[in-house]
């Protein structure tokens, strides 16, 4: 049993070292995010092995916290940091495109306004349509 435990700990240490190599060397931020996720998983597995080997449950909340931490870090990197990293590196075209993509809501709102200016008749017609719909709704509500 002790030899098996030694093998398990050696495998976990080796995998942690390899994942750290990728964490240091990774060419883009996303590689580092992936490696950080894997490193969190390896550390969680190490804590699980420690818990099982010594049969003490005091590290289990730490396991839960690590799970939260890995998820939050990976999502925030993928959502906010990767696009900035891409804009900072050499190919600025992709970076500009991706920053536009990141603010897709603003872009869509701008498109909607542009269409309204281009076709005033259609926009006013739509406005009156919604207005009558609203008044009908209030009439129904007042009647009921």
């Amino acid at each position: 049993m002790d030899q098996a435990l030694t093998v398990v700990v050696a495998a976990l240490l080796a995998s942690g070292a390899l994942v750290t190599v990728r964490l240091v060397r990774g060419p883009s931020t996303l590689d580092r995010a992936v490696a950080l996720d894997a490193l969190a998983a390896v550390v969680m597995a190490g804590i699980g092995v420690l818990t099982a080997a010594r049969q003490i449950p005091y590290y289990l909340p730490g396991l839960l916290v690590l799970s939260f931490l890995g998820f939050t870090g990976s999502v925030s990197i993928a959502r906010f940091l990767a696009l900035r990293d891409e804009a900072g590196s050499g190919d600025g075209d992709d970076g500009d495109d991706e920053s536009d993509e990141g603010e897709g809501d603003d872009g869509d709102a701008g498109d909607g306004e542009g269409d309204g200016d281009g076709g005033d008749g259609a926009a006013s017609g739509a406005g009156t349509g919604t207005g009558t719909g609203d008044s009908g709704g209030t009439e129904q509500r007042s009647g009921g």
Binding site: L30, G48, L63, G70, R79, E98, E101
Partner: protein
């Protein structure tokens, strides 16, 4: 206590398998070429490896509260890892780091009403 001895053996086998999956993830992260393939390697210890290790720890601890906490950890991991991997993969595709040289088929590039890839030029043009 024959049952506890058997449980210890099963727990050690589970932890060996989990540690082997972690080692595979380390090797894959170092050797594979781009973000998506590295994600493929990195998800091995995040789900199956960690669940095996947690199962081993649960077989060693054998108390209801500790097993409940371990189940909670495993459930949370299974819920959150796909979300994080989805967001990382989407960011990788949108920043063009999808290893286009190794892609056999890229269905997102020809999908109707797509929101990724290069929509700005197509919308403008």
């Amino acid at each position: 206590m024959r049952w506890s001895g058997t449980a210890d053996l099963v727990a050690m086998a589970c932890m060996l398998a989990g540690a082997g999956l972690c080692l595979l993830a380390g090797i894959g992260l170092v050797r594979l070429p781009d973000v998506l393939t590295r994600m493929h390697a990195a998800t091995k210890p995040q789900v199956l490896g960690l669940l095996l290790v947690l199962l081993g720890a649960a077989l060693r601890l054998r108390s209801a509260v500790d097993v409940g906490t371990l189940v909670l950890v495993g459930l949370f991991q299974v819920l959150t890892v796909p979300v994080a991997a989805h967001m990382v993969g989407r960011a990788a595709y949108r920043t063009g780091r999808n290893g286009s040289a190794h892609l056999v088929v890229d269905e997102l590039a020809t999908a109707p009403g797509k929101l990724t890839g290069r929509p700005q030029e197509e919308r403008d043009g």
